[in-house]
Symmetry: D2
Subunit: 351 residues, 4 copies
């Protein structure tokens, strides 16, 4: 049995991990850690867990004594890098939800940090070369029992990278002019109330935000650049729509060579042939975010606008599963040599 500690247990990311671990056949929750609600049962904060877990929130210090095989850092930027060294020393693997370990070099991290207005110095720079970007579909070879630190990818990044990777790696699309038009449900903003997420203000409301630059762009460009073998830039738009869960990213790239819809579909199907969580659909499939809600699935609808020679991929994920806790669990499975789908082999509830 793998003992898992969740730090940041009271946020949506922590709760999502709790839900998944409760049904995992080979893992158990060793400790739920947070900086508030210490001593409260998590089920008091999240009554849907009543009857499923009696675990109470503990503070980081108390939890330090608890032996853990893996620590999920469901925490914002800057926390994981401070806590990871001690956890690693205690023998745990670390899977971090934030940007702290998504970049392999201090320079790449500094670039990211400066874009989002944070201190560009990483608190644990020695760990960076040993961390892996936790998108198994692109980095499975580096997600093994030998891996100790994983930077879990950003939710938008998951949807964009899975949608564009086959085309970019193949050279099917030009690396200039890529557009990622992304729509997210409100849960992506976390559990903290604010005017922009107040129910009446959000009801019937769609809008773009952070038009000046979103923190996930950096990792999208880095990963696509690796696939393309060249630096590239994307135009990225984050938009919020009034649903709870779900990201639908519509991705555009100019075809670098003529390609029929059938050829492109075949290319995508081949790329994801053995992937347990990616489904590829033709352009007449009525597939959307409701079909991935609650599961670790990414659904891709592949279309080619032959009139404008444009590839268009619609990529759907549940931002809290494949976009967060699900990916983290998938990474845990790989780091412990378990079947990749353990605890994740379920569809969501529909409708």
């Amino acid at each position: 049995m793998i003992n898992a500690k969740i730090i940041g247990a009271c946020g949506y990311g922590g709760v999502g991990m709790t839900e998944l671990l409760l049904r995992h056949p080979e893992a158990r929750i060793a400790a739920l850690v947070d900086i508030e609600n210490i001593g409260s049962p998590l089920a008091d904060l999240y009554p849907h867990l009543a009857g499923f877990t009696d675990l109470c929130i503990v503070d980081a210090e108390s939890a330090a004594a608890e032996p853990a095989d893996v620590v999920f850092m469901a925490t914002p930027d800057g926390v994981g890098m401070r806590l990871a060294p001690a956890e690693l020393e205690r023998g745990a693997k670390v899977i971090d939800y934030s940007g702290d370990f998504r970049f392999n070099t201090p320079e790449a991290y500094a670039d990211y940090a400066s874009r989002i207005g944070r201190d560009t110095r990483h608190a644990a720079p020695d760990l960076l070369p040993h961390s892996t970007y936790g998108l198994p579909e692109l980095h499975r070879a580096s997600l093994t029992p030998a891996t100790a630190v994983v930077g879990n990818p950003g939710c938008f990044a998951v949807s964009c990278l899975l949608g564009l990777a086959p085309a970019v790696r193949d050279g099917l699309v030009e690396t200039e002019g890529l557009v990622c038009d992304c729509k997210t449900g409100v849960s992506g903003a976390g559990k903290k109330p604010g005017p922009a997420f107040h129910y009446p203000a959000r009801y019937d409301q769609m809008n773009a935000y952070k038009l000046g630059g979103h923190q996930h762009v950096c990792e999208i460009e880095r990963e696509l650049g690796l696939l393309a073998g060249a630096e590239l830039r994307v135009t990225f738009t984050a938009q919020v729509v009034p649903v709870c869960r779900g990201i639908l990213s519509t991705l555009y790239g100019r075809l670098a060579r003529p390609a029929s819809p059938g050829e492109v579909l075949a290319l995508y199907r081949a790329f994801y042939e053995n992937e347990p969580f990616v489904r590829v659909f033709p352009d007449d499939a009525a597939v959307g975010t409701a079909h991935v809600r609650g599961s670790n699935t990414c659904a891709l609808v592949i279309s080619v606008d032959t009139r404008t020679r444009t590839l268009r991929v619609v990529s759907c994920i549940d931002n809290l599963v494949k976009g967060q806790a699900g990916s983290a669990l998938q990474n845990m499975n790989l780091l412990f040599g378990l079947p990749e789908t353990a605890g994740l082999d379920q569809p969501g509830a529909y409708p």
Copy 2:
């Protein structure tokens, strides 16, 4: 391994059962039966199942050959009673979603049928005395491996009965003047489109319907009458609110004797002490339908209005789980001597 056949596989009730069986440790789906979409993979109709099941829809005749230990009739009134005898003869147990087997006598059935405008003659009257009303919290003793036919309860009935049973059995409330004010999500109406369930017509819309009489009243009155030891009538209001899943029933009864909120809470807690799926909360708990969505849980918030000497219970279920497929699976577990929570021991995803 229990082989399960689902008849009416393409409706929401059939899909809900498919989702649950896919994660059940001791059961497998032997056949998905419907009268349309024959030959299509269920996942073509419900893309959220893509990658989780390859099963195709078959017609009833082809499926007859398939040996099944249990048949779920996820079908409307009148179908189960016609198909059940043959299934029983083949050795299967039958769990029927409709009103066909919720009543033990031809007379009780006729009363129900006349209220909803159907032929009052039952097609398989001999089976009625052997059928059990499938609410384990009230009839567990009759839900055993010796049971062959179960009438799965109506969704509104589940929420009302679990909410009122302790008070009625105890004599805490008068049997006259009971009020069930019920609000349901739209999925309760099934998957067939119609003007009343058209997205724009339903958006921002709350309304009452069937004020002249709802089909679930009959079983509520029958079951409560059994508990009270006397015939009784309830005033029942069905209302639809613009969510997908969830029933919130607010239940009112005049106190037959003075009782403090604490005493009443204790009464409910005692009644449900060993129930795996019922959670009892005090009146200041902020618990609602979102906390039972996707799980087989019934959450009860117990309140006493001492000013008006009124018991008020707020009962929350997921209409498609505890109100339908989840109850059916719970019944299956009992009929096969399995742990009652098998396949049902998970919270839903929140938020």
Copy 3:
């Protein structure tokens, strides 16, 4: 032209009044007053007003100089009673949204205040005997140019009182055992963010709240008592459903005498025959909150459960219009001798 001042202009109640005054043929906004956002155009806070008004928020002191014929106090309990005397002295009429002027005597106010945990002493007790409860359908005779102070009714109270008044005044229902089961959209909670109104926490969520007692019960009982000629008590349940606007109140009362559905419908139609904003429907009408959204209409669906001898009325309003700003404007019209429907003679937009 009537000059209107809105105090509390930045809340939903103030904005609703602004929207209505912008289309009123005989009134104009003289000042928008609030305690924050001083100097900002209201349209910066509420971009839907851009191009429709350039008015900026001012503080109360600056606004004092501004001559006003009417002051709308779109403020919480305790504010109006402190500001009203000075406004009246300057010659303005006062229409207050809170509970400050809903009760005619210091004793009645004290009863209300104690129930909601406020100081029981009224800050302007001399005004109470001159204030009118602003529900024109019940108090039109006292809402005239001679009236200076109006206590605008609570949103739940409007829906319950309009739904029960005909039956209670007529003696059709017993005064004991009245039940008000009320469901409101989230906008009723105002514009201040909080965990209970956070979009993801509210999505798909229905729940009851304040089961221990809601502040609107007091005025419902007082007004119904006046109609009945006897004190009475109601069992009141507030529930919130995930829509933005709308209250649907289902109201139950035991019939005091046998009455057919047709007779009861006729009674209601007669009672509201000349009312411009109340519509009476029979029990098979598919009418709900979407049909009153954005208008000052109250829609009543009248039903009798003859099996249980229970009257059941479904009452629908837009909580921000007939439940708040619309009623306030209706009151203003009456206080200035204008046609009661001025500025209110429009349906909302559907769907």
Copy 4:
């Protein structure tokens, strides 16, 4: 008083026009025409109109006798072109909601018709040269009392054209590589129920549709081509999100020359300086569809991604107002020499 006839009165487009005409100071509804519900009050079908209009649906023949100054054809493709000649002969002006009169030549119409799979022969080709594309912001000079036939623009087209026109006319963006990523509320699909618009199937669901080609692309390309002085093509994606009303179109174009965000904002502000219904916002404005709901406003958020040299405009309208009935009324005002904002000078209700 202008007498207006609405053909197709029972659809959302007809109802939207009814709502607007009821508050128009210079127009009245002369007849509500449809092919079903003949004899029924419109308020029976749309109870929100109860008390606001008593008008009943009539058939086309009866309505022919009714003198009308303007006929709104709220009808699908192919109807207006058959009915228009007779209406024009009777002296009415015709404003058609469909694609029938959006193109000035039989050839342009044939191109459109072939794209959407209709008969390429127009039923009234002689009228085409006299018809005007009813987007006043681009064609005001041709929308005068001398104009008899207007092709009201498609809802997506309105949002895309208003968003791109300033940049395309100015040559700010390259004419190749334009991308229109459009999200619409469900009301855009009309009032006819279907599986894709069934409430439970649509809840929490976002998806793209008609990836093979949408009927509005044709008019977008034609109009932008006129502005650019050259043929051009756009990549257009229609997506549906679970709200009732609203279109949010995110529009991308590569800058043809370096331009700062401030310059581009100034360009847009100058272009729309005197437009009563277009509001231009900078890229940090939190403006979305909720802010245009219920009004004839188009809100544009202007952004430049300097890293990728891409112009990005977020364009918001209410699909049923500026995207349909509101534009039609705006056109009527121009055709009758009325103030352009008559009947349209109101904000919607927020929230």
